[in-house]
Assembly symmetry: C2
Homo-oligomer: 205 residues x 2
């Protein structure tokens, strides 16, 4: 691209470093700012800077937080004996929005993936084992994504906590609510038959 302005070129280059944003999209976004009041750009820049420089990781669950302990860990109404293990903070947001879970979380920060060079020591696995070891947890719910990496991570953690006397579970896999059976893949459908639940329980939900 042939920029007539170094300032524009620089802004487009920086924006196009974001994932999924190419040069053309970056140019469209940057030129959009030019049509808006200067304040909008100031707010945007400051929001990004404040977020990046001031946001913390909760020292207990590793969710992102504005304070040392996050709102969830800090909430005395939550059951601290049930801990849900998730990959990242977007999963916390997804589960929180269901309003169905009243325990705490443990955010691993990813899953074991040899291809991407992510091993157990890159994730918050040791801190999870320590929590289990200290005896404060009664049930651990694995809520990782149902991929090979997710299953590997589940299994790796499971092997390390087997010796401690706690309940472990994984979230149910099955047909999505509202889905038609004929379009479901056979593995999901197979699992949903194997892990069927009493009918009374399904209408209780």
């Amino acid at each position: 691209m042939d920029f007539s302005s170094k300032l524009l070129e620089n802004a487009v280059n920086e924006v196009s470093r974001l994932p999924g944003i190419g040069k053309r999209t970056a140019l469209r976004l940057v030129l959009h700012l030019l049509k808006q009041p200067k304040d909008n750009t100031t707010f945007l820049s400051e929001a990004l800077l404040h977020f990046r420089n001031d946001v913390k990781k909760c020292s207990k669950c590793y969710n992102i937080s504005d304070t040392e302990l996050c709102e969830i860990c800090n909430n005395p109404k939550r059951n601290s004996e049930i801990v849900c293990v998730v990959e990242d903070i977007r999963d916390v947001m997804a589960i929180e929005s269901t309003l169905q879970f009243k325990g705490l979380y443990h955010v691993l920060g990813g899953k074991i993936s040899p291809i991407e060079g992510i091993g157990p020591h890159n994730l918050e696995i040791e801190s999870l084992i320590n929590k289990v070891e200290s005896g404060e947890i009664k049930e651990l719910i694995f809520a990782l994504s149902s991929t090979m990496e997710g299953d590997t991570t589940n299994f790796y953690i499971y092997k390390q906590i087997e010796k401690f006397n706690i309940t472990t579970s994984t979230i149910a896999r099955g047909i999505s609510v509202g889905d038609e059976l004929e379009y479901a893949d056979e593995i999901t459908l197979g699992r949903s038959i194997l892990n069927r639940i009493p009918f009374e329980q399904s209408i209780g939900n």
Copy 2:
């Protein structure tokens, strides 16, 4: 969305004000910054701020520029007697990248569009008429997009400069290089037959 951090929420809200970026995409982009060094966010914020606060409009052609006169208007090798009228700076970049045009530009800043409430006085039309009136221009090339708004704008300007003795032209409409005839729309194909050019000229290009 249920954010556990005000800083995150604020950053996501600001990013999602950009056109075509929803809350989920904004969240993905903002969380990406968290995985990168803090410097990257600083560079991004500063690039946007500098661009928005310091970029100017060229006082002659209204292209954006870091200086009072843009690089193109300032270049003594360009032919200042031929002026290409375009909608916005992206069109200047597109034409510049062809390396086929050695004249100057005049950036209108949009096109006449009553639906969007954009009239002639919202665009740099008066300044164009003044340029033509002063006698410095010999040929005006209309390179607006081939839409109803583009044609309206062309015609509006044409009516005002008719009385001055200058050449006016529009860029050729026709079948794109590499396109198959059967997929071309009939208006484009019709125009490309009416405005056919001598064969010798086509192989000269």
